[in-house]
């Protein structure tokens, strides 16, 4: 399934919009639930009619942490216990 204006409900399309600094969600046309990241099938009502909708990009922080022992891909960029990534 896809949205004729924006493309299929895939990570690739989601990431393409992120690269343009646009946060996109999928909306179920049956029950109006919003999902991010994208879903092809609505987990609330299992309907399969979805559409892409842009989000404002504003939200509330639900949780945070500072990771001192990072994954390899971040370590190789110079982050480590002495230089943790900071917001």
């Amino acid at each position: 399934m896809s949205d004729t204006n924006h493309g299929p409900f895939t990570a690739a399309v989601f990431n393409k919009y992120l690269d343009q600094e646009q946060l996109m969600a999928t909306k179920c046309l049956q029950c109006n639930s919003l999902f991010i990241p994208p879903r092809e099938i609505c987990p609330e009502c299992l309907d399969q009619q979805m559409m892409w909708v842009p989000l404002s990009g504003n939200g509330k922080v639900a949780a945070f942490t500072v990771i001192y022992v990072g994954p390899t891909f971040m370590n190789t960029q110079g982050y480590d216990r002495n230089n943790p990534p900071r917001p």
């Binding site: 990241p37 949780a63 942490t65 001192y68 022992v69 390899t72 370590n75 990534p85």
Partner: protein, 423 residues
């Protein structure tokens, strides 16, 4: 969703259990460890049994491919304990792999298809450097949306911890009390990877420094140690090294039979009377972070099937991959109200001699966490406690009902079992 009460087709009992030593064993492969667990299992069957009567193996394993470069590990483990040509099934649900393998074994007996089933778990983790272990474990998260953001497993549980702290007022010191309690229990478990209390650990570090002529730590109490950024470094704020379970090699195994033949093998079988399992979205996609919803659902299914409630449970082994995880677990299981679990270790409620002993084995924290073996490892402890074979860490009095709680990743999987001793 269909939520009717479920029951087994017939009763299922444990008649034998064993585990390898948990720890770091450079000279042992997963085959050696599984054989070690199987040896202890064979010796644990009171009236003996013929291993040729085992009909199938269900094996929990998270990632032998990434840890050891060995895929298709179930028939290899079956071979190691002499079970070829019987079917061998690997079950993978991250750190809940062997808890789910146990459930599959139970269902196979309960269905009437098999009378005797071997359930095992194995993980050989220490061949890789820590950074690669961290990357391998991260594969149990959401690799599209969580891992690219830089999350690690300590990071996920740290996010749960900060949310919990914000909502309920817990402090990192409360988490450390969970670590101290579990190390106290682990010090009484000869199979544990860290079989010492934190106080003994501190003394050892001091003695080692004196011996090597290095500066001796000046800790005067456990809190000096706790705040020492070198000895107990931050891993993901607020979780420090001693909030995290270790990287472990280990194997575990239990022998299941149909209830109606259990007394052929022992006069003290442990009956499995409840089993529940649920899944959930990845952590980033949940509405609630201070509770693991799959654990609540799995527990409810298990309680409903067993016809018992949380207050009936005498002891529990819960999935304390991080200290905060034990706090969330004892609330999710209904032992304590939401937001009250964080004081229970500090207050001694969950200690060996407390009202509700939790993780008498030392938990994943002190006993060790060979991820694919941890679920069945919990069952081995329940078996020993219920049969009063737990040595120095034996809980006093009868244990008519016990529970195990095994979580995969951040709770995308949770499986709960309830055990009964009837005589």
């Amino acid at each position: 969703m269909i939520t009717k009460k479920r029951s087994f087709g017939r009763g299922v009992a444990i008649v034998g259990a064993g585990m390898s030593q948990f720890g770091a064993f450079p000279d042992m492969t997963s085959r050696d460890l599984f054989v070690e667990a199987f040896h202890e299992l064979r010796q644990s069957v009171d009236k003996g049994f013929d291993p040729r009567d085992i009909e199938i193996l269900y094996l929990g394993n998270f990632s032998s491919e990434l840890f050891e470069g060995q895929g298709h590990i179930a028939p290899i483990m079956a071979d190691a304990v002499g079970l070829v040509p019987r079917p061998a099934v690997r079950v993978e649900d991250a750190c809940a792999s062997s808890g789910v393998a146990l459930r599959q074994g139970i269902l196979a007996v309960a269905s009437g298809l098999y009378d005797m089933v071997l359930v095992g778990g194995i993980e050989k983790m220490t061949s890789l450097p820590t950074t690669e272990v961290t990357d391998t474990l991260a594969a149990a998260g959401d690799v599209l949306y969580e891992i690219p953001a830089g999350f690690t497993f300590p990071g996920f549980y740290a996010a749960i911890a900060t949310t919990y702290m914000h909502q309920y007022g817990a402090q990192p010191e409360h988490f450390m009390h969970v670590a101290m309690k579990n190390h106290d229990n682990g010090s009484k478990n000869p199979k544990a990877q860290f079989g010492v209390t934190i106080e003994d650990w501190m003394e050892k570090r001091k003695a080692s420094a004196i011996k090597k002529g290095k500066p001796v730590p000046t800790w005067s109490n456990v809190w000096d140690f706790f705040y020492d950024g070198k000895a107990n470094p931050m891993i993901a704020w607020p979780l420090r090294l001693f909030d995290c379970s270790p990287i472990t090699d280990g194997a575990s195994a239990v022998l299941l039979v149909a209830q109606d033949i259990a007394t052929r093998f022992t006069d003290a079988p442990i009956h499995i009377i409840g089993s529940g399992q649920a899944s959930d979205y990845p952590l980033h996609d949940r509405n609630v972070l201070t509770s693991i919803t799959a654990a609540r659902r799995a527990a409810q299914s298990a309680y409903d099937m067993a016809g018992v409630s949380a207050s009936d449970i005498r002891i529990a082994e819960v999935h304390d991959c991080f200290t905060i995880a034990e706090i969330v677990a004892i609330e999710d299981l209904g032992f304590f109200k939401p937001g009250t679990g964080y004081t229970m270790a500090q207050d001694g409620v969950t200690a060996l001699d407390g009202i509700k002993p939790i993780n008498t084995s030392g938990g994943l924290k002190a006993k060790g966490h060979p991820v694919g073996a941890s679920g069945v490892g919990q069952t081995v402890e329940i078996w020993k406690q219920m049969r009063r074979e737990a040595g120095d860490r034996q809980v006093s009095g009868d244990i008519p009902l016990a529970l195990s709680h095994n979580v995969g990743a951040t709770g995308q999987t949770c499986v709960v079992h309830i055990y009964e001793r009837r005589n």
